[in-house]
Amino acid sequence: MLGLSAALLQSAGGPVVSFMSKAYEELFRNIPFIVLIFFFYFGLPVLGVFISPFFTGVLALSVAVGAYNTAIIRAGIDQVDKDIVSAAVSFGHSKYQIYSRILLPIALRTSIRPLGSMFANLILTSSILSTITLNELTGSAKIIASYTFKPFEVYVLLMLFYCVLTYAITILINLMHTRMNKIMVN
């Protein structure tokens, strides 16, 4: 969502808005995720801003993934044939109509694959959140491993689980991609 709105701001907004959104994209695309988490979790409290591990996770993931998605969606928008947009302009469509009915639907069709790998990535990246005591998959596995004294089995299972999960997502995305683009072969 964040990626979509930032991409829109960048491509449709005025120079200032577009610059700000570009700055957001560049900034967070160039920060290692773990540093971002540590900043939110350990850094911000110094300024008196305390957020729970869960909220830190949600926030950091959204901000980071949003930045990548911004780039992906903007590239999708830029790829749309300018002549098709000209046609829509010449028929008197408003800017809003052009984005909602022409540019975004076409851009999402080309962006679906990279957005999908981003989503898979998001799941993998979320494991880093265990470092701030957030008990997502990896965090829970860690606890179970220390309870049961069977780290090998637990982590093999965990690896399998991530693998199957992201692979399933990849397949799903490929299906979606084929479906959405069947009509536009050319």
């Binding site: 000209s86 046609a87 010449s90 028929f91 022409i102 009509i183 050319n186």
Partner: protein, 244 residues
């Protein structure tokens, strides 16, 4: 009436259109001829505001192309058919045709649909209404392009070399559709390399040479020795086109 007065358009330091004057009356059919790169496409783009220009005035039925809200109105009754069709690839044929009537003219969906189907019938594409553009031949796509333009019930139709990316036989099918239209009340301003066709349907022919409109004459006079052909540039252009 489309009224172009003293239109000058530059790209950087290059003067692309130089002080052009031209009018197209309601219901009239005017063809523009000229060599590649002479500025014909740019001229059409200026008329529907796809390009802005440095000097001069363009008005359509008294509305100025240079004023934002007047341009918006112009676009509701002055439609374009493009050389490369420019259909919306993610929409069906029917949706391509009804999009602007529904969203721009706020026409009710059912009446827009009925009108679109009527137009498709006229160009022989009724059974293609649910197909996507990529699955049609070039000639069929261009006929859809024409339907999309006509769906706005335009008073003016701008056509930019609408057959030049088509095979000869598909060219024929598109030109037939246009000839059929020519008897209606829609005015047409068409850029074309189909001299024979221009001669058949136009009431006037204008010739652009390096951004200057050098000749603008009724069709008959344009092709007469004492009229258009007396201009060396026109004569040279026509003989070159005939050789192809």
């Amino acid at each position: 009436m489309i009224k172009v007065s003293n239109l000058t358009k530059r790209f950087g330091d290059n003067v692309i259109l130089n002080n052009i004057n031209l009018t197209v009356e309601q219901g009239e059919i005017v063809s523009i001829l000229g060599a590649s790169g002479s500025g014909k496409s740019t001229f059409l783009k200026c008329i529907n505001g796809l390009e802005n220009f440095e000097d001069g005035k363009i008005s359509v039925d008294g509305l100025s192309v240079s004023k934002k809200d007047e341009l918006r109105q112009i676009r509701t009754f002055c439609s374009t058919v493009f050389q490369r069709f420019n259909l919306y690839p993610h929409l069906t044929v029917l949706e391509n045709i009804t999009l602007a009537p529904i969203e721009v003219l706020k026409e009710p969906i059912n009446s827009a649909r009925d009108h679109a189907l009527l137009l498709l019938e006229r160009v022989g594409l009724t059974e293609f209404s649910g197909r996507f553009p990529a699955t049609l031949s070039g000639g069929q796509q261009q006929r859809v392009g024409i339907c999309r333009a006509l769906a706005m019930r335009p008073r003016y139709l701008l056509l930019d070399e609408v057959t030049s990316s088509l095979d000869p036989e598909m060219t024929g099918e598109v030109l037939d559709v246009l000839a059929d239209l020519a008897s209606g009340e829609t005015a047409m301003l068409l850029v074309t390399h189909e001299i024979g066709f221009a001669r058949k349907i136009s009431s006037r022919i204008a010739f652009i040479h390096q951004g200057i409109l050098v000749v603008d004459l009724p069709t008959k006079q344009f092709f007469s020795a004492a009229g258009g052909l007396s201009d060396g540039r026109v004569a040279a252009f026509l003989s070159k086109m005939e050789l192809r």
